[in-house]
């Protein structure tokens, strides 16, 4: 049976067509107006959660960037203060040198007492530096003035705790320097001066590189001077050897990845200039220390060594590797001499164990990239080489460990000057050097924090770019596509209108009339 085409049948179909055309056009118009692929949650339920998560991550990323900006105020303030302390200590050294020299007179010594007293006040001003009402040397007692002076006595009223900032999704960073470090109440310490971070080798776990901060799995781009370009996915790599194998396989050996001669990082070789970059706003190349361009045939990556730890082999430490086995170190502490024989040590953990066994009450501490020797009391101690192996020097711990008695030392200096005792004045200079070293180390530590902030900011900015790019992929409309679809929808709607008007004006009744 053939279909009866009635007027209501025609109008039903035509109205349906018109509605569909109009609906499509409105949908495209909404996209063109907002330039968004998704306007309502229901437009793409799968993408909703992703978009909102990106929005939340971008918001928290902005917050971390803002935290870094605020953190710089604290770290920058500490930097200025520490440099001021260093300057004051230089002035103290000039006075001490002058007053224990042959030109010193009683009058000059009396004048110097006043000068030192004024320097004490200057130091107090510096150590009581506050930023937005936060005392930067007060530990966590941020609103409490940390140093107060009563006569010749300076009292510290802060605590020993760090104030930390959140500088990334999983990272916090201490920002302050608790002022108790200057008060001589801590154990005497001798900080090691030799870099103990182990060299990178093929078995190095990628989670341990960058002093334990690890890496971000992802892809990198590689190109050389003869037009080869590669994109290498390193996501599955676990060790440095995995990286090397993956890159060398992906490039068929035209660009090769290896470890630098000094073991500090990675190295790309090939026909220069070599360019290593990120893909889709990633951060993998940067974190592997490779992001950059070489002029020649090799691109040397930056230092990405792991942190030192108890399991670190001495043979993996650049400065020790050629000096094994180690020898004997002499310690003098509390009037007793101790000999520590490190010849059987194979790891940093062995050094710790041997040291604790040989010198009860003292410790050898392993830091990220150095070691230090800590006495069990504020009394000074000495560390020296006991044999031709020069082990104390190799480990960077030859010298005197002492507490940092900033104001105590200045009072001793004043007392020496007042008494006209040049030997006493000279004696304070040893302690002054130790304090200067400590301040220098604090300046270095604080500088490291500034670098960490720079590093974190760079990572966060890259993260922001990546998040924005990913959000755009999910969220933004393809302008060209929308414009094209919109004009097609308009054409379709106009055609529907035209056909409708023609059909409604055509029937047999009209012909009969």
């Amino acid at each position: 049976m053939s279909l009866r085409v009635t007027d209501s049948y025609l109008s039903s179909i035509l109205i349906g067509d018109l509605n569909r055309s109009l609906g499509r056009m409105l949908e495209q118009q909404e996209m063109a107006g907002s330039m968004r692929r998704i306007n309502d949650f229901a437009d793409d339920p799968r993408a909703v959660s992703t978009i909102q998560r990106y929005n939340a991550l971008i918001a928290s990323n902005d917050e971390y960037l803002s935290n870094i900006t605020r953190s710089r105020i604290m770290v920058g303030g500490a930097d200025v203060a520490l440099n001021n302390i260093s300057e004051v200590l230089s002035d103290v050294r000039v006075i001490a040198l002058r007053e224990c020299s042959a030109i010193a007179t009683q009058q000059s010594q009396e004048t110097s007492v006043i000068e030192v007293d004024n320097l004490v006040n200057r130091l107090l001003d510096v150590l009581n530096t506050s930023i937005e009402g936060n005392y930067i040397f007060a530990g966590r007692q941020l609103k409490t003035q940390p140093f107060t002076r009563s006569g010749d006595t300076v009292v510290y009223q802060g605590d020993e705790d760090d104030v930390v900032a959140r500088t990334g999704p999983n990272t916090t960073m201490p920002l302050n320097i608790p002022g108790n470090v200057f008060m001589g109440t801590q154990s005497a310490t001798l900080g090691g001066m030799v870099d103990m971070a182990p060299m990178v080798d093929p078995t190095t776990n990628l989670a341990d590189i960058n002093l334990g901060q690890g890496w971000t799995p992802g892809s990198i781009s590689l190109s050389d001077g003869v037009g080869n370009t590669f994109q290498v996915d390193l996501s599955a790599a676990v060790t440095v050897n995995d990286l090397i194998t993956t890159v060398n396989a992906a490039t068929a050996g035209q660009i090769t990845l290896g470890i630098t001669a000094d073991g500090s990082g990675l190295q790309i070789s090939g026909t220069g200039p070599l360019v290593v970059g990120e893909i889709n706003g990633g951060e993998t190349a940067t974190i592997l220390g490779l992001n950059g361009t070489s002029q020649g045939n090799s691109l040397m990556g930056r230092d990405i060594r792991p942190a030192a730890g108890p399991t670190t082999n001495l043979a993996d430490i650049d400065s020790i590797a050629g000096n094994l086995p180690l020898g004997v170190v002499d310690i003098n502490w509390q009037g007793t001499d101790y000999s520590v024989d490190f010849s059987a040590a194979a790891t940093l953990g062995d050094l710790q164990t041997i040291f604790s066994g040989a010198v009860p009450g003292m410790n050898l501490q392993i830091l990220d990239s150095s070691i230090s020797i800590v006495g069990g009391s504020p009394e000074t101690f000495t560390v020296s080489n006991a044999d031709a192996t020069n082990t104390a020097s190799i480990l960077g711990v030859e010298g005197t460990g002492s507490p940092v008695r900033l104001f105590g030392m200045l009072e001793d200096l004043k007392a020496g000057l007042t008494a006209g005792d040049k030997d006493a004045v000279r004696a304070t200079m040893t302690e002054l050097r130790n304090i200067e070293d400590t301040v220098y180390q604090l300046i270095m530590k604080n500088g490291g924090r500034q670098m960490d902030l720079d590093w974190s900011e760079g990572i966060l900015m890259q993260r922001d770019e990546r998040l924005q790019a990913n959000l755009s992929l999910e969220y933004d409309a393809d302008v060209a596509q929308v414009a094209s679809d919109l004009s097609r929808a308009e054409a379709s709607y106009q055609a529907s209108l035209l056909v409708t008007s023609k059909l409604y004006s055509t029937n047999l009744i009209q012909y009969l009339s």
Binding site: N39, A42, V48, N55, R140, V163, V164, L512
Partner: protein
Amino acid sequence: MPGLNSVMDTSLSALFAAQAGMATTGHNIANANTEGYSRQDVMFAARRPDILPYGALGRGVEVQGVRRIQNEFLTSNLRVQTSRLASYTEVDSTLYEVEAILGSVDNDHLGNALNNFFNSWSALGQPPINSTLKQDVVSSAISLVQDFHNINDSLDDMENNIEVSIQSEISNLNQLLDGVAEMNQQILSAEASGQPANDLRDQRDLLITKISEIAEVSVYEREDGSKDIILAGRTMVARDSVTHFASDYTKTSTGYQMTIVTQGHSQEVKLSNGKLEGLMTSRDVHIADVRDRLDALAENLVNQVNELHTQGRTNTSSGVAFFSGDSMHTIEVNPALEANPSMVATGRTSAEGDNTIALAIADLANVGIGGPNSQSVGDEYRALLTVVASKRNSYEFSVENQQNVVSTLKTKMASVSGVSLDEEGANMIKYQNSYNAAARIVSTVQKMYDTLMNMV
């Protein structure tokens, strides 16, 4: 041997038949745009012939009746599909409103408030510590609580509006049932003569189709031509007798809730499909689900923030809960903190630089208190958005699909029962020619009479 009178009689039957056909064509054309109208068709049949010795001699045509052209299967199926469409449309409309209450991708009220709340903790915990930011934390918490309350109030309003709509639809349904009963009575009277009351039947069918928009309906046609209307297994119309629906309230754990009952009884009627079912499902399933999820989110937020904040202390306080309540309706910021924001704890000690609590609460935005793999408050909220978006997307699809089904059935109905002006035009010509031809026979018979008379 038939006479001229017999021929005249035959011609007259043709004239009458052509007139009946023309009248029906006119009726069809007149009702071409009448909703629910089924085209009508005149049933012609040859009159019983005169049996003569040399054979049967035809006596013309007679009109046996006028019938309406309809397909009962299509009509019944259309009603079922119309009920489904109405149900889906109501749910879709509800989910659209729920989505609007939650915001849009660009302006996600509660999501933004959650982000602001957690970011305010992050800012408070950031050295240099600025204690005045405690006021920001309290303000952002109040704003977040207000958002929860606003959503709760909006969902309450939606539920109230749905109940108003349910009452309105019950009233509409009762009127339509009355209409069917009235039409039954009129049809019974009109068809007493034995001829079908086509136009009345069309009007009754239209009323039943309108009932199907409100609730899925079953129809039983009696031999006398009346139709019984059966809803949710209950006969609501039997000939001219009607049972009405009414609304009633039953007690629930949270208060009273409107239900549908038959008048005079309190037992709840569960209608299937149609607007009423869509409205009830919207209220009892979809809004309830969103409410449950938001209540759980609010409770989780309260518990997680309090778990941490009660570990904190300030110079003047310790162990203070930050929020109270266990749902989006009851969640409140601790009034003591509103009055004195300095009681907001940033750390586990009273040291101003102890920001461990502030940072831990800020972390709740992305990490659950149960550890890295537990669901964060933000994750819970995003899961809720995804559920609402998926449901709405699914119902949008169902509505669109069902519209196509209904449209197809209506198109088929229009093909069977609709009036075609072309067809009616052709019929008009056909009946006109038929009339002209019959009139010509009458004229010829007249001439024959004249010839005969002139012979006398």
